[in-house]
């Protein structure tokens, strides 16, 4: 059974370290070229959108075509601010992790538009079921950075009471669901949430995000099946950032078909969008939200983007992809592209950008300073270990109380 006799197809390897980056597999559409169907359009009319790519911003930074959401410059500036804050927050937290002050971190760099435009296109009472790479949702909905930092620190103000790894946030009052360490589980949960909203006759929708790698999990199938059967008011987002740790999107099933294309097979419109184009993401999310609100059911959206950083602080991408790959990514950087667009609109400048960055950096530093007062590994107050026995059940059973007392005695408490 030598390799050469084998007929087993292995998807072609992406460019590996030492090889030139190769994105020849990526199919894009020119900005403005893809039609925008009515939200009530029959599935067959929408089907081509699963293999095309909705794009609004052209190379010159102009917004064109039927998907242009015609946002005010003020709104775009807000979007830009959220994206920049997300990126700089990520960068700072990475440095903090490298200094050993938090145990782990995971950036969303290069993918900020997916979360920020997504959150802005929805209403605050729509329920979000994110993956671990959607910190932009928190930023766009205005969660205090201090709270996010305290979670990463597992300190006395940690919303998770020290139980979750960094970035696995949640936000009840902000309508953002808990992030699971187990991939994809949130996808069908979002569908159930949306079914309940419909069942109660409420005008709220759910939106969930997973990576393209995670689409291979059972949960993806359950989500699509249940969403289709009950026409749940849900937006199912696949964030195709080309990589799942070390394996390319081809290993996830992206070689012969797009991830958006899964949708029509289940009776769900699938739309592929340039995930680094803030306006396109906004427009597509808005379209899907409108559909859901009008009772036209779920939409599957594939956001084509690029994971610009390592998978996480436990990862070293130089082992499996060319260092220059990010620079070769054909869809550019979402922040730079929106800046450019605002410049074209005459609503932005290098100077403003500079000031914005400084302002946000200062804000981040200040937040960190505050967060640290609630405890860091080396100083400040620390969470009471006895809390580890709480919340297993709503009320602590006797047996667990005994275990708590045992630990208390052991710690000399």
């Amino acid at each position: 059974m030598a390799a050469h006799e084998s007929r087993l197809h292995i998807p072609p390897s992406p460019a590996r370290p030492g090889e030139p980056p190769d994105f020849s597999y990526l199919k894009t559409s020119p900005a403005g070229s893809v039609p925008r169907p009515e939200i009530t359009a029959p599935l067959v009319t929408i089907e081509p959108l699963a293999s095309e790519m909705v794009r609004v911003l052209d190379d010159a930074g102009t917004a064109i075509g039927p998907w242009n959401p015609h946002l005010d410059p003020e709104d775009l500036q807000v979007g830009l601010r959220h994206m920049v804050l997300t990126r700089r927050f990520d960068d700072r937290m990475l440095r903090i992790q490298r200094q050993g002050r938090i145990t782990f971190y995971l950036k969303s760099s290069g993918e900020e538009a997916v979360s920020v435009a997504g959150a802005m296109a929805l209403r605050p009472d729509d329920m979000l079921f994110p993956s671990y790479r959607n910190q932009g949702l928190y930023i766009a909905r205005g969660r205090s950075l201090v709270d996010l930092m305290c979670q990463c620190l597992s300190n006395t103000r940690d919303m998770c009471k020290g139980r979750q790894m960094p970035v696995l946030y949640h936000w009840g009052s902000g309508n953002i669901f808990s992030i699971s360490g187990n991939l994809a589980t949130q996808f069908p949960q979002a569908v159930g949430w949306a079914m309940a909203a419909a069942l109660k006759g409420e005008d709220r929708l759910a939106s969930s995000w997973i990576g393209e790698g995670a689409t291979a999990e059972a949960d993806f199938h359950h989500a699509l099946t249940f969403a289709a059967v009950y026409q749940a008011p849900v937006i199912l987002n696949v964030v195709n950032n080309q990589w799942a740790i070390s394996t390319s999107q081809k290993i996830a099933g992206g070689e012969l078909s797009t991830f958006a294309a899964r949708g029509p097979g289940y009776g769900i419109p699938g739309i592929r969008v340039d995930g680094n184009d803030f306006l396109a993401v906004y427009a597509v999310m808005q379209w899907a939200a409108e559909r859901a609100r009008r009772g036209n059911g779920p939409t599957l959206i594939e956001h084509v983007t690029y994971r610009a950083s390592a998978h996480s602080t436990s990862d070293d991408p130089s082992r499996y992809r060319p260092q220059e790959e990010g620079r070769a990514w054909p869809l550019g950087d979402p922040i730079a592209r929106l800046e450019r667009h605002l410049e074209v609109l005459g609503a932005w400048s290098a100077d403003r950008q500079d000031r914005l960055e400084k302002e946000l950096d200062a804000h981040i530093v200040e937040c960190w300073r505050e967060a640290a007062t609630y405890g860091t590994p080396s100083e400040g107050p620390s969470l009471d270990p006895m809390t580890l026995f709480e919340d297993v059940f709503k009320e602590m059973p006797k047996s667990l109380a005994r275990q708590r007392d045992e630990l208390k005695a052991l710690l000399g408490g």
Partner: protein, 338 residues
């Protein structure tokens, strides 16, 4: 008082809860128009509508996931898994999500989901319609595990489970859906109407979770059982002719160790009975706990009488089933030991 079998008792619990609480929904495979393959949901869709009693796709993992989402959105879903043998596709959603949601969010999110499923053998179901996987779930912290042994408890415990804010896995021993089977499969079937626990109030009532019941008081030996095996234990005790105390655990998690251990400390002897396979079954935990709590009172080694460590064979159900003879033999062993 109305007389009900265990199917009707389950149905009545669901009926009462659907009627009282608009957030209760019932969902599962064939539970809607048809009323469930064991008829536990019969008539409920007609009464409460297709939106409250929902036929689902055949995807246990999807059912539990959707139920979790509904629970997060304020509903109290009662999901049916058609057979306990088919719960494994939902295992990840139960273990990684349902059981841990409250913990990982420090109480900010939770889902009050009840997952019902018929379990146990003796209905010629072969290895995929006979399993008793409760032991596995008892090792998963964050979910309660319940198994009634009679219609009265079934209804009261199911109402408690649905009203409970924690997730509950609710096992229904299908061999006793229609009558209190005592392990003697040669005998004609006995209906629940012959049993005092077949008297079931029509309206709302609860049997509290986490409370075992002493179904027979005795001085010589304590028998720990639940579900079908409570009745089999009763038959075994008659057979063995000893003054045994039989405890119906009813809730396996959280376990009522006080009731069970004070009994064993009194009798000094203990036999544990379940239908599931022996190795690492729930009986192991019971034995370990009793041993820890009652060591100085024990007069003989604790015995476990269980299904053999094989899948449940279609042809040899009654050779497999831990019947009265095997239990009686174990009782004898603990009585004679010294």
């Amino acid at each position: 008082m109305p007389q009900m079998n265990l199917v009707q008792a389950v149905n009545s619990a669901l009926d009462v809860m659907l009627g009282r609480d608009p957030s209760v929904v019932v969902m599962g495979e064939d539970v809607g128009y048809f009323g469930g393959v064991f008829r536990c949901t019969e008539g409920l869709q007609r009464k409460y509508g297709e939106h409250r009693v929902i036929d689902t796709p055949i995807a246990e993992g999807g059912i539990v996931a959707a139920a979790i989402g509904m629970g997060v959105n304020g509903l109290r879903p009662v999901a049916e898994i058609q057979f306990a043998d088919y719960v494994y596709p939902a295992f990840d959603q139960i273990v990684s999500e349902l059981a841990r949601l409250r913990y990982r969010t420090a109480g900010e999110f939770s889902a009050a989901v009840t997952v019902r499923m018929p379990c146990g053998g003796g209905i010629r179901g072969g290895q995929t319609h006979s399993q008793s996987p409760e032991g596995i779930f008892t090792h998963v912290c964050g979910i309660k595990v319940v198994m009634p042994s009679n219609p009265y408890d079934a209804k009261g415990l199911l109402v408690s489970s649905i009203e409970d804010d924690d997730p509950v896995i609710f096992f229904e021993p299908k061999r006793i859906y229609n009558g209190p089977f005592d392990g003697d499969w040669h005998k004609p079937a006995v209906p629940w109407s012959t049993h005092s626990k077949g008297d079931v109030p029509a309206g709302h009532y609860t049997v509290p979770l986490c409370r075992a019941e002493i179904v027979r008081t005795g001085a010589d030996v304590t028998i720990l059982a639940y579900g079908t095996m409570v009745h089999v234990a009763e038959a075994a005790v008659r057979l063995a002719g000893v003054d045994a105390e039989i405890i119906d655990l009813r809730t396996l998690v959280p376990l009522d160790t006080d009731t069970m251990c004070s009994s064993v400390c009194k009798t000094g002897r203990c036999v544990i009975v379940h239908e599931a396979t022996r190795f690492s079954g729930f009986g192991a935990e019971l034995s370990a706990t009793v041993q820890e709590e009652c060591f100085w009172h024990l007069l003989a080694p604790i015995q476990r009488v269980t299904g053999w460590d094989t899948p449940y064979p279609h042809a040899f159900e009654w050779e497999y089933f831990p019947g009265p003879a095997r239990i009686a033999a174990a009782i004898k062993t603990v009585m004679e030991a010294s």
